[in-house]
């Protein structure tokens, strides 16, 4: 029923996660470019997520089939982000809510 593996050092994983969370909080106040802060935060989050999946969810000790299942959403999400690149890098604009309301009003008054 269980793959016989040595129990990982859960407390070490816990301390790593706690320290990385503290680092994340520290990073947002660093006087460096916003872009660099963003990239660092994403990397830190991915490391934390990997720690949870590999050790708490035992993915490191499981058979490969489960690993492939776990990696599938990661692959599809990467494709999703690639397909969203035009939106992610396109021109920015103000929220058009007020303008939309102005346009909708005369339309609503039509018979």
């Amino acid at each position: 029923m269980f793959t016989d593996h040595k129990e990982p050092n859960y407390m070490a994983v816990f301390f790593a996660l706690a320290i990385l969370t503290a680092v994340e909080i520290g990073v947002i106040y660093l006087p460096i470019a916003k872009f660099v802060i963003g990239i660092s935060l994403i990397l830190l989050a991915l490391v934390k997520a990997a720690l949870v999946a590999l050790y708490f969810m035992h993915l490191k000790f499981e058979k490969r089939t489960l690993g492939i299942i776990a990696l599938t959403p990661l692959l599809i999400c990467t494709l999703l982000i690639i397909s969203l690149l035009p939106d992610l890098t396109g021109t920015k604009h103000e929220s058009k809510r007020e303008k939309a309301a102005q346009i909708e009003k005369p339309l609503a008054e039509l018979p």
Binding site: M1, E24, L41, A49, H58, L66, I81, D87, S95
Partner: protein, 203 residues
């Protein structure tokens, strides 16, 4: 004879043994669920990237409180693995204690989220508007944290059922996989929060 040997080898190498079907099923479900969260976060990124007047979340949302909530979920993941370890060694009493602590962590998390939402709503943040900028800021915030909160609620109920069955003596060392599968769900909810915390609160 050779057939028997082949079968035994297959059962060992493949996760498709009757004992691990539950685990396999949970992983397939979690992969699908991960896609839902992935889509929500990717959509959030696309909306935010196109907005000039997006507020800086770390300035308008309470980072200290949510950092504590993150810490709380990490702690509850540790009690979860301790509970699984206990039942694997046949200690059902210790398992119910640790799972009880996990439920407590989840319940406190939900309480803090309710407090946070109430506070933000009183400050004028709604699904369709907020005082700080782009109106979709509130929409995406409540949708993503709400969807995650619903998962935590589901997890608390799930674990409560396991604990109740543990108290009734229905979860033994042989049925430890029930705890393992519940744990997978709980750790996944923790994992997703790590990402939500980064994308919705920190960046």
């Amino acid at each position: 004879m050779s057939q028997v040997t082949t079968h035994a080898v297959e059962a060992h190498e493949s996760p498709l043994t009757p004992e691990s079907w539950g685990k396999l099923g949970m992983w397939v479900f979690l992969a699908g669920d991960a896609m839902t969260f992935g889509t929500l976060l990717a959509g959030y990124g696309a909306i935010r990237a196109g907005a000039l007047d997006w507020p800086l979340p770390s300035q308008v949302l309470g980072i200290t409180l949510t950092a504590f909530m993150t810490f709380l979920l990490i702690c509850s993941s540790v009690t979860m693995v301790k509970g699984l370890s206990a039942i694997k060694h046949g200690d059902a009493k210790k398992m119910t204690l640790y799972l009880g602590l996990t439920i407590l962590g989840g319940a406190i998390f939900l309480g803090l989220q309710a407090y946070e939402w109430t506070h933000l709503i009183h400050r004028g943040m709604h699904l369709s508007s907020n005082p700080w900028g782009n109106y979709l800021f509130g929409t995406t915030f409540f949708t993503i944290t709400g969807f995650h909160g619903a998962h935590v609620t589901g997890g608390v109920i799930y674990l409560a059922v396991i604990v109740l069955r543990g108290i009734q003596g229905k979860i033994t060392q042989e049925k430890a996989s029930l705890v393992e599968i519940a744990g997978l769900y709980w750790h996944f909810v923790d994992l997703v929060w790590i990402l939500v915390f980064t994308f919705v609160y920190l960046i």
